[in-house]
């Protein structure tokens, strides 16, 4: 293991090479989910519910089947009925029955856009025409969209078998409240009694979509012998394999999932939507089936993250010491239980060392698409509330927002509300770096304001596999099981190159399919550079050991007398004997005579992912007459442990920040009164465009994680946590108006300013 404190000794890690998959992507040759073809391929399309809540009385597929060119039509009747069973496959616990019903509604449709049937035909236009010919008879039921309304006794109940879990006594009536979780420490009442000032607020956030630019896409072939191949864009080929096997009743060994390039995921591609349908269509049609969603289907049918209600109560002494903190986070799960209310509760106070604290999470179903993970699932929602409240407290007490946070900051040894005791964390370092940044000293003009907010995400480890093979000429092939969503092939190759002491260009990193590399948990939780990186380092260290062994054999000396540096074997000191160094190419050329191919595998269940913290500073200007907010300047400071490829680390921070700015200002799901999604397009679901934004200054703070060979911590998720509160705090500084509801779109901000007489 390398000494992570020796940053200066690193030759590859910390540099900025061109990514190995880059050229394919800039010339248009990279193969994404919708680009693959198979011989004899036909095209699939879905039939979706126009109702928010309805019983399916009858589905007549005869007219669709009669259309020339139609090869198969399927409904839930063509899918195995799955019993209720909880399992951990994607980025959280999942009930397979719910997932099956979400893919294809069986008895009831639970949201506008819920799939009820699918067709496959010889052309996309025939498939679409056939989908329109599928006749579905519905009995429309009352629906509920808002999570607070869904909790009311009078609300229509979505599931007759969902009883609130985590409450005592066990309820006897079914409810839309699926679960309650609580994390607590200390004595809240005593903490609030000791406070000089108490702030109590309710915050609302809107559901937002990951809005990856590539819609879901796959091609699937179900062969006559039962062997299946799926090529698709996802955050985990093994996740897709597991879901397809379970939902269709196929052995895992009969499914091979080949990862296509993935056009963005942000958590939204940790579930399956199309792959099992394409396989079921392929089984019925006897032909490979390609399915590609259009943008409308992506918005209506795939998971956004939850919207929610966050109730915060915060108490502090006059000097800013927080004495008690309480938060209740009520999150929309969508149509089936499973909102990220757990992580939302766990993250919301994690930046602080608070003696008396509580965080409660509540999971509520309503007639919306089932939520999916979105970058630090849950944390941005709860943290919008808590970091807005901390800012308001600092303002009330006349304290600088960074000083207020420094006073209460979590440090090494702080026991987090959710359990663990922090070690090697860099929260204070991010606050200090923000304090020293020129952004904080910049002058502000009229109608301008500055906001500060911070955020936390756990980061995870987990199971990863990698293999490394030395080619005949001394170059190498590195295979890992992690889909590369933002440059991980580059960082994997860089870590291997660092250990081998060679140039990174001599390693070709690829993402293996499920039949060519060991099990690897999906790309999520900011785990790839950490966990898969550890598997890569393990494989590389083993290759180095073998290379030393081969050199020892050639020199006829003991392996312990061979050392490896700068890409070559050297005798370790004068006692080992006098030999010319043997390069990787020299040893590779002699591989056949010294024992055969040189290959190694790395397989880890990585533990000890370093938690991530960030501090954001934003300057905004508010148009007092329209409520339009312009982001003038943005500084995002984050502890990244060690940046393997700093450009892509900065890119994660910049991208996450901008998603947060969109969440803060304009992104939301808008429903009509009859429960239909009213803005299922990029025209009216307003993600930030280039002209909306200033440069985003990503500042890397490096407090290395000793559990990783190079000190890496996950970086992808933290940056989306602080922006919503940071922007709200800046708006408050600019206008004096405290916004407690997202998005802070012009009509809402203007109305709030008018109401406040500002």
């Amino acid at each position: 293991m390398n000494d992570i404190s020796l940053k200066d000794a690193l030759k590859v890690v910390g540099t900025r090479p061109v990514r190995p998959d880059g050229v394919d992507k800039v010339v248009g040759r990279a193969q994404f989910g919708g680009d693959a073809t198979m011989p004899g391929m036909i095209f699939g399309a879905t039939v979706r519910s126009p109702h928010a809540h309805a019983r399916i009385k009858k589905i007549n597929t005869a007219k669709a089947e009669a259309l020339k060119g139609v090869k198969a039509v399927i409904t839930a009747a063509d899918m195995p009925e799955i019993v209720s069973e909880e399992a951990f496959v994607g980025e959280g616990p999942m009930n397979f029955r719910d997932l099956s019903n979400n893919l294809m509604a069986r008895d009831k449709v639970l949201y506008d856009g819920h799939v009820v049937a699918a067709v496959a035909a010889s052309s996309m236009s025939i498939a679409k025409a056939a989908a329109e010919l599928v006749e579905v008879e519905y009995e429309v039921l009352p629906h509920v969209i808002d999570e607070i309304e869904a909790m009311a006794d009078s609300a229509p109940v979505l599931h007759s078998d969902v009883f609130t879990a985590g409450v005592d006594p066990k309820p006897t009536k079914p409810s839309n409240v699926a679960k309650r979780v609580e994390f607590a420490k200390g004595d809240l009442a005593a903490g609030f009694a000791a406070a000089d000032k108490i702030i109590e607020r309710t915050y609302k956030t809107a559901p937002v979509h990951q809005a990856y630019i590539e819609p879901h896409a796959c091609i699937a072939a179900f062969n006559a012998d039962g062997q299946c191949t799926v090529i698709c864009s996802s955050q985990g080929q093994f996740m897709v394999r597991a879901y397809c096997a379970k939902l269709l009743g196929i052995d895992i060994s009969d499914i091979r999932v080949v990862p296509a390039e993935i056009g963005g995921g942000f958590g939204g591609k940790t579930l399956v939507y199309l792959e099992p349908l394409a396989l079921a269509l392929s089984r019925k049609a006897g032909r490979p089936v390609r399915m590609v969603m259009d943008r409308v289907d992506v918005f209506r049918g795939t998971g956004p993250t939850s919207g929610g209600t966050v109730k915060v109560k915060l108490g502090a002494k006059k000097d800013g010491t927080i004495t008690a903190a309480d938060a209740e986070i009520i999150l929309q799960a969508g149509a089936y239980p499973g909102s990220p209310m757990g992580p939302a509760a766990m993250c919301c106070w994690a930046m602080y060392d608070i003696p008396n604290a509580r965080a409660v999470g509540v999971d509520v179903v309503s007639n919306r698409p089932k939520v999916a993970a979105y970058r630090a699932p849950g944390a941005p929602i709860s943290t919008f509330g808590t970091e807005s409240a901390v800012d308001e407290m600092a303002r009330e007490l006349g304290l600088d927002p960074i000083e207020m946070r420094l006073k209460n900051a979590a440090k090494n040894g702080t026991k987090a509300l959710y359990g663990p005791t922090f070690q090697n964390i860099g929260y204070v370092e991010t606050l200090e770096a923000a304090k020293a940044h020129p952004n904080l000293q910049a002058k502000l003009g009229p109608n301008q304001g500055r906001g500060v907010a911070t955020g936390f995400w756990f980061n995870i480890g987990g199971e990863s596999s990698a293999s490394l093979a030395v080619n005949e000429d001394g170059t190498l092939v590195l295979v890992s099981g992690s889909p590369d969503i933002g440059g991980s092939r580059a960082s994997m190759a860089m870590m291997a190159a660092e250990i081998l002491g060679i140039e990174v260009e001599h390693i070709r990193p690829i993402v293996g399919d499920t039949a060519s590399v060991g099990f690897t948990f999906l790309t999520g939780g900011s785990r790839v550079t950490f966990a898969t990186g550890m598997a890569v380092c393990e494989a590389t260290n083993e290759v180095v050991k073998q290379l030393r062994g081969r050199a020892a054999k050639i020199w006829e000396i003991d392996v312990e007398a061979v050392e490896w540096r700068d890409g070559s074997a050297y005798p370790a000191g004068d006692n080992a004997g006098k030999f010319e160094p043997l390069s990787l190419a020299d040893i590779a050329a002699k591989a056949a005579r010294t024992g055969g191919p040189i290959t190694a595998k790395g397989a880890v269940n990585a533990q000890g992912a370093g938690p991530g913290f960030g501090t954001h500073v934003v300057d905004v200007e508010v148009d007092p007459e329209t409520g339009h907010v312009t982001v003038l300047r943005y500084t995002a400071v984050q502890d990244v442990g060690r940046a393997i490829h700093p450009s892509y680390v900065e890119g994660q921070i910049q991208g996450g920040t901008v998603q947060g700015i969109g969440w803060a200002l304009n992104e939301e799901y808008i429903y009509t009164k009859d429960g239909r999604l009213d803005n299922a397009s990029f025209l009216d679901y307003r993600v930030p465009v280039a002209s909306d934004l200033p440069a985003i200054d990503a500042v890397l703070v490096e407090v290395p994680n000793p559990r990783h060979p190079f000190g890496a911590k996950g970086v992808g998720e933290v940056p989306i946590v602080p922006p919503m509160a940071a922007v709200a705090n800046a708006i408050c500084a600019a206008t004096g108006v405290r916004m407690t509801s997202l998005p802070m779109s012009p009509p809402k901000l203007k109305a709030a300013m008018d109401a406040a007489g500002k």
């Binding site: 025409a129 007459e625 329209t626 409520g627 200002l665 009216d684 930030p688 465009v689 002209s691 109305a751």
Partner: protein, 289 residues
């Protein structure tokens, strides 16, 4: 299965014939930036698509004695490259260039924007304020009407089934006359106007307004010509009292809906704000002439 007929006539008569004799519904294709999306979503399924871009005069800009002749299907990007027209009518030309992205500008046209008949079309208030006319070709020849007479309700125009817009005539601006267009959107680009406002004013040598036309978009079923707002300007300099009257007149004219893009209250207030801001630009441009 939906499969329309595509035709690309090269003469006006041929186009009129195709429209007049089409079996089922027919649609004129200019830039297609609305039509193709509506066909794809299933909202519109014309049986015949008549692409007018191969007809001489439908693309291009000519300065003639009676004004600027702008071919109906001339894309926004090409309009923006015409220095003469942009100098004469900065409001009109900036407005059309606000439609969509750079890519959309490669296709989107005045005619498409107008005939899509959305109350929020960006180029429409600008054309209306400038006094532009649409030259409409049909089986009885050509007729010329003010632009504001084309849309009759959301999605509907006054054109007969055999008619299409061949070109626009924007008057020559003379003396101290100038226009401006502003819209309000939540982002900085890529949005549909929540409110749009076109203002054209003529000033005397003392900066007093002698003629004005004010037009509002997205605050009523069709583009509005707000005479009361023009009256608030005429006879006055651009002082606070005038601006207040203009703001009030613009707000009073609004009859908007609340939808996913804005509330009635917000649209009404912003209409007043935009009227003031747009008028200020138009006044300053006119004064500089």
């Amino acid at each position: 299965m939906y499969s329309p007929t595509y035709a690309a006539p090269t003469t006006v008569d041929e186009a009129v014939g195709l429209l007049a004799n089409a079996s089922g519904s027919a649609r004129v294709l200019s830039g297609g930036t609305d039509l193709i999306i509506q066909m794809r979503s299933g909202r519109l399924r014309p049986q015949t698509i008549v692409d007018i871009k191969n007809i001489a005069g439908t693309i291009g800009i000519r300065e003639e004695a009676d004004g600027w002749h702008v071919g109906a299907a001339t894309p926004g990007a090409e309009i923006g490259e015409n220095a003469g027209l942009c100098a004469a009518w900065p409001g009109v030309t900036e407005a059309v260039q606000l439609i969509g992205s750079t890519q959309v500008q490669g296709r989107a046209s005045f005619a498409g924007n107008l005939c899509n008949a959305s109350p929020a079309g960006d180029s429409v208030p600008g054309l209306v304020a400038a006094g532009a006319k649409a030259v409409i070709a049909g089986k009885n020849g050509k007729r010329t009407i003010p632009v504001e007479q084309v849309p009759v309700s959301p999605g509907r125009t006054s054109l007969a089934a055999d008619e299409f817009i061949y070109e626009f005539i924007i008057p020559k601006s003379s003396g101290k006359t100038a226009d401006a267009y502003l819209r309000f959107i939540p982002r900085t680009e890529m949005d549909i106007a929540v409110v749009g406002c076109g203002v054209c004013v003529t000033l005397d040598n003392n900066g007093v307004c002698t003629a004005a036309k004010v037009s509002l978009g997205a605050v009523a079923p069709t583009v509005l010509v707000v005479d009361a707002a023009a009256k608030a300007l005429i006879g006055n300099k651009l002082d606070d009292a005038t601006l207040a009257k203009l703001d009030a007149a613009a707000q009073a004219a609004c009859n908007p809906i609340s939808d996913k893009r804005g509330t009635i209250e917000f649209r009404t207030k912003v209409a007043g704000v935009l009227a003031r801001r747009t008028a200020a630009i138009a006044f300053s441009r006119a004064a500089a002439r």
